[in-house]
Symmetry: C2
Subunit: 241 residues, 2 copies
DNA sequence: TTATTATTGTAACACAATGATACAATAGTT
DNA sequence: AACTATTGTATCATTGTGTTACAATAATAA
């Protein structure tokens, strides 16, 4: 990241990047029975946004998205899925970006490539909260986790992008079996159920949930046990694949 | 379409269109127990491709896709869904497009905007085969239906785009109840089952299929009957919504 | 050591959904 | 009026899920 140009960095010339296309990443984490989203704050603006970036001229879009998520979380081998492209003309709000660039110490001319209309490719990522290391870029004041239920207002249509990402996550949670990407390597059945209940925002019946999960044949019981409170200790599980 | 510039038309200056982004539409039809795809053939090239187009500077991407499908089929109120954006660098094959433009009577300079790298937003449409009127643009030799199982080779990655569209259609057929968009207004339970069997490429049990469909409460029995062969006549149904 | 307590793992039953077979009800044809 | 192919649906078996119940712990307290 030292020599190489960062995705979040504003490149005055736009050299080396595709114009008119950006990537926005909804990076989900799970902690304390809460779904979290990683948000960045542009320097000296108080404006919050999804981590994003641009696509290099020789780069696949999916690789650019991996790069963006990797730069913000420090993680590789991430679950990442492209879920929608946001291409309404009404997204085009150059004033907001002008403010961001000005606060960043640039006086962008009106025809600047970053002030033209942009289309955003939306990706959502599922990461292990305990392993992610939120990392701001130079032009950010911060890069931190926020409760999904307690996000600050976001620039542009980023709030709707988060909303659509959540809808997609919910729809895919069961049939694509992607939930475990949000958990650490080892976890209890209770952890897994809490994750499902949080994502789907509804209570599930414990016996049915356990039966279903075990019947899928994707869980390895580690025969180890927890040491916790005054009660029977749960088994730890690991996803096999 | 006379005054207004067509989406399929090659615009030498690229004025009025977003650069670097195109739309490709996989337009599905259903006829004779076969899934059909609408393909165009570029003039004097023998090159087949998906109907596509570009996005006007003031146009929403979804509207551009509607326009493309409408121009090729003559239909409005179409079921249309954006399913993926194809953004690999390896898609960039300027020679193929150079050939198309040359055959169209243009000698494109090397820096021409249509010879730059493009990203394609993939849409799939479900239309009533009996109502669609395939309509070529000026630069096409033809615009016709092809059996999904018997398509000519397509330019670029268009065959993969069709493949991914079909995967998406299969995944959504049941849970989004979109199949009826491929049928005419009135149809028999047998028609509907044949459609499902063709799309999913597997046999279904007649009693179970009928029970399931009727239990959904989305079918209106028209109490009319067919006059066909030497057997009991089936009811006609219509989707209600 | 032995109760106590909270929680886990799973058995057991009810109910719903689906797979599969059977058969009566036709719309023609012979 | 008998025959034939197909439709509509009843029926039963099987599977999956919702729900209740309870034995098996892992600490803590007596």
């Amino acid at each position: 990241m030292s020599e190489q140009r960062e995705a979040g960095e504003i490149n005055p010339g736009g050299l080396g990047y595709l114009k008119g296309i950006a990537i926005d990443a909804v990076i989900f984490g799970f902690h304390d029975s809460q779904l979290k989203v990683l948000l960045i704050e542009y320097k000296r603006t108080g404006l919050f946004a999804l981590p994003g970036g641009f696509i290099r001229e020789l780069e696949n879009i999916n690789d650019a998205a991996l790069r963006v998520v990797s730069e913000r979380t420090g993680l590789d081998n991430i679950f990442l899925d492209q879920f929608y492209i946001f291409g309404d003309y009404s997204r085009y709000q150059p004033d907001e970006f002008k403010k961001i660039m000005s606060a960043g110490g640039m006086a962008p001319p009106d025809g600047h490539w970053l002030l033209q209309r942009f289309v955003s490719v939306g990706y959502y990522a599922l990461v292990d909260f305990t392993r992610a290391k939120p990392t701001p870029a130079i032009i950010f004041d911060s890069c931190e986790w926020y409760d999904l239920t307690n996000m600050p207002p976001l620039i542009q249509d980023h709030t709707q992008i988060v909303r659509k990402a959540l809808d997609t996550l919910r729809a895919h949670l069961d049939d694509k079996l992607i939930g475990f990407n949000l958990l650490p390597e080892e976890f209890t059945m209770g952890d897994l159920q809490q994750l499902y209940e949080t994502v789907l925002d509804k209570k599930l019946l414990r016996p049915a949930f356990q039966r279903k999960m075990l019947s899928l044949g994707i869980l390895e019981r580690l025969s180890k046990k927890f040491s916790g409170g005054a009660h029977k200790a749960p088994y730890l599980y690991r996803f096999i694949k």
